[in-house]
C-alpha cells in the first residue's frame, strides 16, 4: 500500500517535472513555439474560470451564466492599473483619463488581486439581489447582469475610466508562460482546498438537496453568497490574466459567447470535476486550433473535398460538443477526479483482459 503511495508521489512529481520541462523547452524558442505557448497560456487562464464556474455550478448547484461580466471587471481593473503611465495619454485619446486614476499605477499581481476583489464585491451586491432565484431563472438573471456590466463598461458615461468603446491597449503582456501557469495553479489549488473543506461539503449539500441542507443547519443564503463571491473573485482574477494575455481588451471580448465557451469547457470536462475542467479547458482551446484545417480547402489528389471551407471548423466544433452533451452527458470525467488509481485500474483491467484472451487463445 505504501509502495503504491510512493509510486503515486513519484509519478505526480515526474508528470509535473515533465510539464515544467516542456514549458521550459518551449520557452527556449518562443517564436517557434509561440502558438503552442499561447494555447497553453489561454488554457491555463480558462482553466481558472472553468474551475470557478464548476465550483458554483457543479459543486454548489447554482447555474450562473455571469462569467463574462466578472471577467470583464477583472480585466478592466488590471488594464486600468497596469498600463504604463506614459502610454495613457495616447490610449485615452478621445476623452482623456480621470485625473485620479491617471496617476495610479501598479505591477500586475496586486492589480490582478484588486481586479478579483472588484469582481467579488460586485458579485456580493448582485448575489444579494438574485441568489434567491431558482435554477434557470438564476441563469438568465446572471446572464443579464453580465450584459449590464458590459454595457456600463462600454457606455460613454464611463469614457474617462474604462475608455468606453475604444478599449484599452498596451497592457503589459506576460514575459513568460510561467507567470500565468503558476498563478492559475495557485488559484486552482486554493479552490480545490475550499471544495475539500467543511465549506465545500456544505456547498455540495446545497447542490444535493436545499431543504435537507437547511435542516442540517446550513444557512442557504450565506453559503450560496459565499460560493458566488469566491467563484466571482477567481473569475475576476482570470479576467485580469486574460488582460495580461491579450495586451488589449475591449468590451466586445466579454460577450455572452465567452461565458458559453467556459460553460462548454465545464460540461465537456464534467460538472463536478476539477480535473475535468482543467482537461476541458485545454481540449477546447487546443481543439479549436487543431480543427483549423477544416477551414482550409482540402485536396485528395486533385479532388477537392467538399464542405472544407471557412467556418466549417466551428460547425464541426459545435457538432462535437452536441455529441458530448447528448451521448456522453457526464463529460470526460463525470464528477470524478483524476487519480493515479484510475490509471492503474485502467491498465490492470486491460492486462486481465489480455490474460483472459490469451488463455482463450491457448486452445488452438
Amino acid at each position: 500500500m505504501d509502495k503504491k503511495k510512493l509510486l503515486k508521489i513519484i509519478l505526480t512529481a515526474l508528470v509535473t517535472a515533465a510539464f515544467l520541462f516542456l514549458l521550459f523547452y518551449y520557452e527556449q524558442d518562443k517564436r517557434k513555439n509561440g502558438h503552442a505557448l499561447s494555447i497553453l497560456e489561454r488554457s491555463a487562464i480558462y482553466a481558472v474560470v472553468a474551475v470557478a464556474m464548476n465550483m458554483l455550478t457543479g459543486f454548489t448547484g447554482l447555474f450562473s451564466l455571469g462569467q463574462a461580466g466578472f471577467m470583464a471587471l477583472g480585466a478592466y481593473t488590471v488594464g486600468i492599473l497596469t498600463i504604463p503611465l506614459e502610454a495613457r495619454q495616447n490610449i485615452y485619446y478621445i476623452s482623456g483619463m480621470n485625473e485620479t486614476l491617471a496617476s495610479w499605477h501598479m505591477p500586475f499581481i496586486p492589480a490582478m488581486i484588486i481586479g478579483g476583489l472588484v469582481a467579488a464585491v460586485s458579485a456580493a451586491l448582485i448575489g444579494a439581489l438574485i441568489l434567491k432565484l431558482k435554477s434557470d431563472y438564476l441563469a438568465i438573471a446572471t446572464l443579464g447582469f453580465s450584459e449590464v456590466i458590459r454595457a456600463i463598461i462600454a457606455s460613454p458615461q464611463f469614457d474617462r475610466i474604462t475608455n468606453g468603446s475604444y478599449g484599452l491597449k498596451k497592457i503589459p503582456r506576460f514575459d513568460t508562460i510561467f507567470i500565468p501557469v503558476i498563478i492559475s495553479a495557485i488559484c486552482i489549488l486554493l479552490m480545490v482546498l475550499l471544495i475539500r473543506s467543511s465549506y465545500g461539503r456544505a456547498f455540495k449539500a446545497i447542490r444535493e438537496d436545499e431543504t435537507a441542507a437547511e435542516a442540517m443547519g446550513i444557512n442557504l443564503f450565506k453559503h450560496k453568497e459565499l460560493s458566488f463571491v469566491i467563484s466571482s473573485f477567481f473569475t475576476g482574477i482570470a479576467g485580469g490574466m486574460l488582460a495580461g494575455y491579450m495586451g488589449s481588451i475591449d468590451s466586445g471580448t466579454f460577450r455572452i459567447t465567452l461565458t458559453y465557451d467556459i460553460l462548454l469547457i465545464v460540461v465537456l470536462g464534467g460538472l463536478g470535476s476539477v480535473t475535468g475542467s482543467i482537461l476541458g479547458s485545454f481540449l477546447v482551446t487546443a481543439g479549436r486550433e487543431w480543427l483549423r484545417f477544416f477551414d482550409e480547402p482540402l485536396f485528395i489528389g486533385s479532388w477537392q473535398v467538399p464542405l472544407f471551407r471557412t467556418g466549417f471548423r466551428m460547425v464541426v466544433f459545435s457538432l462535437l460538443l452536441m455529441l458530448v452533451v447528448l451521448f456522453y452527458r457526464r463529460g470526460i470525467m463525470g464528477d470524478r477526479e483524476f487519480s493515479w488509481d484510475m490509471i492503474f485500474r485502467f491498465f490492470t483491467k486491460r492486462r486481465k483482459k489480455v490474460e483472459i484472451s490469451s488463455q482463450g487463445g491457448s486452445h488452438d
Binding site: L143, P156, V267, S318, L319, M322
Partner: protein
Amino acid sequence: MSLVTILQHTLTGVSLGGAYALIAIGYTMVYGILRLINFAHGELFMMAGYFMIFAMASFPWYLSVPIVIIGTIVLGVVIEELAYKPLRSAPRTSIMISAIGVSYLLQNLATYLFTALPRGYPELPYLKKVFQIGDLSSSLVTFLTPVITIVLVFLLMQMINQTKIGMAIRAVAKDFETSQLMGIQINNVIIFTFVIGSFLAAIGSILYFTDRMSVNPFSGSLPGLKCFVAAVLGGIGSIPGAMVGGFILGVGETFMVALGFSTFSDAFTFLLLVAMLLFKPTGLFGEKIAEKV
C-alpha cells in the same frame, strides 16, 4: 418630446412588442411543459429568416410563406427530437446545456452556409407600403404586427381552451408525471407544442424581418433572450402573459432608447426581469406553484 414623436415611438414600441410576443409564446409554451429555456428558439427565428430569403428567390410570396412556416416547424421539431428528447430523464441542467449547444450550432451553421454578411430580406407586396398619417410615418407591417399578434394569440387561446389537444397541453403543463399516468401521449403533446412555437416563430420572423429588412447569423440571439424575459414578465406558461410581456418590453425598450439611455436598454430588460422575479416570481399572469417538502 413632442406628441408626434411620442406617438411615433409608441407605434415603434408596440410593433416591436408584437414581434417579441409571438416569439415569447414559443418560449412560454415550451417552458410550461418541459421546464426548459429553449435557448435555440431565437436561432430558429433567425433560420426562419433565411428560409424566407431562399424561398422568395424561387417562389412567389404566397407559396414562400407556407414553405417558410413548414420549414421552421420541421426544424423546430427536429431540434426537439434530436437534442431534447434523448435527455428527457436527464437533469435539467443537461437539457439547458443542450439547448445552448443547439443555439451555438445553428449560429455556426448559418455563418458557414450563408456567411456572416447580412442578407437582405425580401419584400412582401403591400407590407412595406409606407403610410403617412400627419407627421407619423410608418410602413404597413408596423401597423399590422400588433394586430396579427393579437389575432393569433386569440386563436391560440381558443385552441388551448376548447380542443382536446389544448386540454392535453394544459394538463401536461400542470403535472407532467400525472398526465403521463393518465394516458396522455406526452411526446405528441411536446411535439405539438414545438409545432405551435415554431409556427409562431415563423410568423414572428416574417413580421420582424420585413420590418427590419436584413438577416445575419446573430440576429436571433438577442431578441431570443429578450423574448424569454417577456415570457417571464407575463408569467411563464401563460400565453396572454407572454403577449403582454412582449408589448411591455417592446414599448419600454423603445422609450429607453428614445430617452437617450440606449446604453442601458438591455440593462433595463434584465433589471425588469430581476425585479419581476423578486417581487412577483409568478409573473403578471402566472399561477403559483406550491413546493412540497
